[in-house]
Symmetry: C2
Subunit: 391 residues, 2 copies
Amino acid sequence: MRKHHLFTPGPTMVPADVALAGARDMIHHRTDEFRSLYEKCHSQLQELLGTKQPVLTLLGSGTAAMEAAIGGILSPGERMIAFNGGKFGERWAKIGRTLGCEVHEVIYEWSDYTSVDKLEQALEECPDAVAVFVQLSETSSGIANPVKELAEICREHDKLIVVDGISGFPAMPCPMDEWGLDVMVTASQKGMMMPPGLGIIALSKRAQARVEQTPARIFYNDLKAQLKAHAKSNHAWTSGVSLHQQLSVALDELLREGLDAVHRRSHIQGEAVRGAARALGFKLLNEKRPGDVLTPVLMPEGVRGSEVAKYCRANWGIYFAAGQGDYTDKIVRIGHLGYQDHFETIMAVAAFEMAMKHFGADIELGKGVKVAQEILMADLEAQAKRTAASS
Amino acid sequence: MRKHHLFTPGPTMVPADVALAGARDMIHHRTDEFRSLYEKCHSQLQELLGTKQPVLTLLGSGTAAMEAAIGGILSPGERMIAFNGGKFGERWAKIGRTLGCEVHEVIYEWSDYTSVDKLEQALEECPDAVAVFVQLSETSSGIANPVKELAEICREHDKLIVVDGISGFPAMPCPMDEWGLDVMVTASQKGMMMPPGLGIIALSKRAQARVEQTPARIFYNDLKAQLKAHAKSNHAWTSGVSLHQQLSVALDELLREGLDAVHRRSHIQGEAVRGAARALGFKLLNEKRPGDVLTPVLMPEGVRGSEVAKYCRANWGIYFAAGQGDYTDKIVRIGHLGYQDHFETIMAVAAFEMAMKHFGADIELGKGVKVAQEILMADLEAQAKRTAASS
C-alpha cells in the first residue's frame, strides 16, 4: 500500500469532491454556462480575499500571476522595491528585471522578515519607486511578513503594494480592501485545496488604473486583455474549464468552513508543529515571525534536509519539503495548510520524529507528538464545545 | 436530462478515463515520482509529434506556447513573417508586436490559405526575416495549410518555421522531424482529448540554439528556463500535476488507437460533414483546402451563426462554434476532432440539419445525414474487415 501524505507547502492534498469535480462533463468556455460558473467563483473569491474589486483567474501557476502583476502595473525603466528574504522574494526581483524594470532589491537573511524599518529605509533610498513587492508568507523560510503595517506605510508614501499570497492565502488573514492592498496574487495548489493550474490576481482601483495606462509588453499574462475579458465574465484565452469546475467546489468548502476557521486551523497546527519541534530540541528558521503555512526545522549537524525528505517520501509516502537555495540541506519544511486536519498534523510530527531518529538524531520518540496532541486536542475540545453550544 | 455534445474545435469531449485520472492522489512535482510521469509522457509526446527533440509541456493554454515560441527564438527588433488568414494567424502577429518584433504580416482572405507562392513573395519582401509563422489548421476558417511544402521553402532560405498545430495536431499529419519543422506548438484541449491547461511546444536543434542565444524578456513562458528544467525531467515553475496525470492516460489512448487511425478518423468524419453540408446545398468557407479539424458552413442569407450556435447549445446540449471576427455570424463551425466517434458525427450532422430547419432554411431533413451515413459506414465496414483479418 502506498498513500500520499502531502505536508509540502504546495501542491497540497485535494479533497475527493474537488478532485472529481474536474472530471465533470467538459463544457465550452465561450458560453453562458461557463460565464455562470465564472461569476459564481468570482463572487466567492471576492468574499475570501475581502475585496469588491476584480479577481482574475489565470490559467497558469502562481508565477504567471506574479509576472502579470509586474507587467501590468510597471513599464520598462520604472522602479520597484522588491524584498528578497527567500526564493519567492527573489522571484519578484528576477521577474522585474526580465521585464525591464529598475529593481531596488532589498536582500536580507532568510531568518529575517520584511520589517517596517526595512521598508522605510528602502523608500528613502528609492523614493521614486512606483510599487513595493512583498510576500505574505515567504514559502522558502516560513516567515510571515507584517503586511498590514507595510501597506499603511505604502499608502502614506503613495506607493502601490503588491502582495504574494501564493502560499499565505487563505491560511493567514489578509483582507485586501481593509488593509488597502493594491495587488494580491495567489494560486490554486496551496491553501485553496486544488491541483496546480490557476494563478489568481486581484487588483485595486489604483492598480487597475495603472494597468490601463501601461502598454502591454507580455502577451499571455497581460492584465489589460484579462480585465477586458473579465468584464464579460470570461478569459482572454482558453479558460481552465476543469480547474474552474474544481475551484467552484473548493470555494464552497472553504466558505462552509469559514475563513476564520481556516485561519485558526492553520494557526493551531502551526503552534503544534512549532511546539513539538522545540520540545524535541530543534531550532526553527523563522523564529522571528513564524508564519502559519509551514514550519522550517533546522537540521542537526550532519543531517541533510534533502535526504530526509527523500527518505520519508520513498519509504513512507510522507512528503516534507527540504529547503531551497542555500537552505536546501539545512532545513526540512513541514506544511500545515490546505486540506489537512489536526490528526494528519499529529501524523506529520510523528513521521518527522521517526525520520530524525532514523538519521541518528538523539531524540525521544513521542516527545514532540505529545506536545502536538495537547495543543491540537485543546482546540478540538473547544471546537466540540462550540458545536454543542450552537446546536 | 442535459448532455454536453461538444462539436466545438476545442475544448472537446474528454474520455472518462482521462477525466478521472486528474482525480488521482495529488503528488508533489519535485519528486522522482513526478519525474517518471514526466519522462513517460515526454517519450510518448515525441512519438506522436514525430520528433527526437525536447517537447515541453507548459502550464497554460496554447497561447502560452505561442508566446513562448516567439519570445524564445526572436529578440526585439528581429523580423518575423506571420501569415494571417484568421484569428490565430493574427495572434502570431499580435504576440510578435507585443514582444517587440518587426512583424511582416501577410493578411489574406479567410477562405484562402498560406500558399507556397505567398511564402515566396513574403521572403522576397522580407529577406531578413528570421522565422516564418504558420498554422497547420487555422481554427477560425478550418483551412489546412501545406506545411510540408512551406517547410521545404523555409529550409531553402535558411529560415526557421514555426507551426501552430494547436487545433491541427494530432488530427492531421505533421511529423516534425521528417518535415523539418523548427517549432511545433499545440495544446491539450483539442485533438489530445484533455481539458485545457497544457500548452505543448517542441523545438528543433536550430530552435534550441536560438533559445540559448536569445535574452529572456518574458518570464513565465521563457523557454530557456523550461529547457533547463526539462533536462532534469521537470518544469521551471509548479507543474500541472493533475493535467500530467490526465496527459499520461490520453497519450496511452492515442497511441493505442495509432496516429494513422487518428488521422483517418478525423479525415473521414471531415469528408462526411463536408459531403453532408454540400448535399444540403450549403457552401463551405474552406473549399480551397479543407482541413480535417472542423468544417465551417456558410450560413444562408438572414441566418446568424452566433444565434444558431446559441440555440443548439441552450436547447439541445449540442455545441457548435459560430465564427470569429468578421465571420462571427457568417459561419457555423462543426468540429470533427478529439474524442468523437463516427456516430457522434452523424448526430452532429442531424443536429445541424435540424438547426437549419429551425432557422427557416429550405432543406430536407435527413438528406445530409444519409450522405454522412454512407461515408462513415463505408469506413466502419472497412475497419471491421481489417479487424477480422488481423484476428
